[in-house]
Symmetry: C2
Subunit: 366 residues, 2 copies
């Protein structure tokens, strides 16, 4: 079996070993720090020892599932706590294939590269629907691409890499298309705390047995390394999803789950608001500097990525490495995200040096 | 797709909700406490924050991989740190199937129930080889059961549930059988620190491209809830195993990996020796009391389980629940481990109350 390793780790490694100072805008690793309650929770856990260091329930600590269920307004029995959002998407996609209702996944273009990676690993076939140039998805296009062979439609809102936030009508129609083809809508909402438009609508807003919502606290609590995510399944799907989770991972990490529970309970809303504002400022700063550099770019409605296009520098891995070595700025090649953004690069706004980065790009290109 | 949830969690839940005091001998959750360096490592990590709270390398923290490689005497590039031993076995078994050299797994009977669970989940077919009544495996029987359809032979030494430790000749021959059929020997050595016989021989002792060794610190550091395990692959298999690990889990939990690294570095050998001695004492105490109760039982050479047989009480889930309710002792039904131990129950020696448990059983049966 052949499937590609997503490029993230390669580019991060290249940037880290560069022989000069590099502004790292590659990964989705937040740089704005975790809430105090998280470290406090981890300290508290470290002193428990004994039985508290042993397996949590396979589907996650009960109180953590309850906390997530309350926040997402679902029944606690629908919630499976996973080893990060990555496992949540894997479980949802594997579950869709097990329904024997098809072996194709409808994905978007641009696409988060892990989705086609998981598709190939699971032996399924990807079918791509192009987003428009603002990143919005027309449900009619999805309807045309979907078929009786569709096992799942996998979307991400707010979107990585485009920054698009799908509105209520789009989400309603995506659920409807999944129902029409007896498929699952897998809605990856890991950036739900980073909506600058006020238009974010969860797939959970629409009552249906044909949608699975995945999420994580990796971004919202700035802890991508803790591996705490979740999937919310319709009730008839949850038992087998739990079984796969158990057979693959037995359970998720209890130190992380314990600390996250404390953080969710004890972090004030201002923490999340402040980080949103920080990102909005960075978007303004970075795009203003891109304007001066004469580059084309996207202005995200959500998540924390800006895509930019520089004449004569298509979004290849080669050009990304050139920008690292010669401009001191590391982004991701657009070609990693599908056909439609081959000319573009993606920059993650996870550095306080976004203005400097844009200035470096302008100087290098100027 | 149909596959069963292993019974462990069911029985543990039943025992926990019983309306009386129950000695819990169900799970493989050590009760003897983790080394101090582990909690110290977790405290240290909690104060790092920032970049240290983000994704570790997908294959695990470099220094942890080096520590494991040094202990197992392999090249660090062969080591993938996983979300516990469970994921390590999943990766190894999935990897074996991807080689397109067969779709059958040779398993032992008795068997650790997660292996047939993973087999079914992966769409493969199990073929069972009976161990003898002491739990030893005759490689000739494995050779007869294996065929060109064999993708992997999955063994566990020291063994759960039998307590058998396979000697050097057995391991050498198991590697040879895997080579003869172009299959992988997957040797799960998670109990390698609990060998009372001095005969434990790792599959790594034999140079071969046909063996994968899995392990974890879950048992040796008494932290089943931390989810730190590893798989050691031949070099030609490691890249795709890493890719699957990344596509399923992205990475393992960094707080756990950091704390485990500190624990491995700073825990004296006495910690491991003391726990072995504690278990040897428990084995003597428990089996002596079983003698008095007139029960048949196994005396383990390794791991921490005793199997026992009580006339008139075959190892069904129903009898396990009866023993919980009426005797106040919780074990696992032998039928969970395959055909050959249907008459037996398995007791995990993870309670200081093993003598009391055996006495309760004697009183109930007497």
């Amino acid at each position: 079996m052949e499937y590609e390793t997503p490029l993230f780790f390669h580019v991060m490694g290249y940037a880290a070993s560069a022989d000069r100072d590099v502004v790292d805008m590659v990964s989705g690793n937040p740089d704005w720090g975790s809430p105090d309650a998280l470290a406090e929770g981890l300290h508290e856990y470290a002193d428990l020892g004994g039985a508290d260091f042993q397996y949590p329930p396979s589907e996650g600590l009960r109180e953590l599932r309850e906390e997530i269920a309350a926040r997402r307004n679902v029944d606690v029995e629908q919630v499976v706590v996973t080893n990060g959002g990555g496992e949540a998407n894997y479980l949802a996609m594997a579950r869709a294939l097990e329904l024997d209702a098809g072996d194709e996944f409808v994905l978007t273009d641009p696409v988060y590269p892990y989705y086609p990676g998981k598709t190939r690993m699971l032996g399924a076939t990807p079918r791509y629907v192009a987003a428009d140039e603002t990143g919005q998805l027309d449900p009619e296009d999805v309807r045309e691409t979907a078929s009786d062979d569709t096992a799942a439609i996998v979307v991400n809102t707010p979107n990585n890499p485009t920054g698009a936030v799908y509105g209520e009508e789009t989400m309603r129609e995506l659920v409807a298309v999944a129902e029409e083809y007896d498929a699952l809508l897998v809605s990856d909402e890991v950036y739900d705390h980073f909506d600058f438009s006020g238009r974010f609508t969860s797939a959970l807003s629409f009552d249906s047995d044909h949608r699975v919502v995945t999420g994580a606290v990796s971004k919202s609590l700035a802890i991508t390394g803790f591996r705490v995510g979740y999937a919310i399944f319709p009730e008839y799907l949850v038992e087998n999803a739990k079984a796969r989770h158990m057979l693959v991972n037995v359970a998720g990490p209890r130190p992380s789950q314990y600390a996250v529970l404390q953080a969710l309970r004890n972090t004030p809303p201002e923490y999340y608001e402040d980080n949103r504002h920080l990102l909005q400022e960075r978007i303004e700063t970075f795009t203003a500097a891109l304007d001066e550099a004469g580059a084309e770019y996207t202005t995200p409605d959500g998540a924390f990525y800006v895509m930019a296009r520089f004449d004569g520098y298509p979004g290849t891995l080669e050009n990304v490495e050139r920008f690292i070595d010669e401009a001191g700025v590391a982004g991701m090649p657009g070609e990693a995200f599908g056909e439609s953004r081959r000319e573009w690069l993606r920059f993650a706004l996870v550095s306080p040096r976004v203005e400097e980065a844009a200035q470096r790009l302008a100087d290098y290109l100027g």
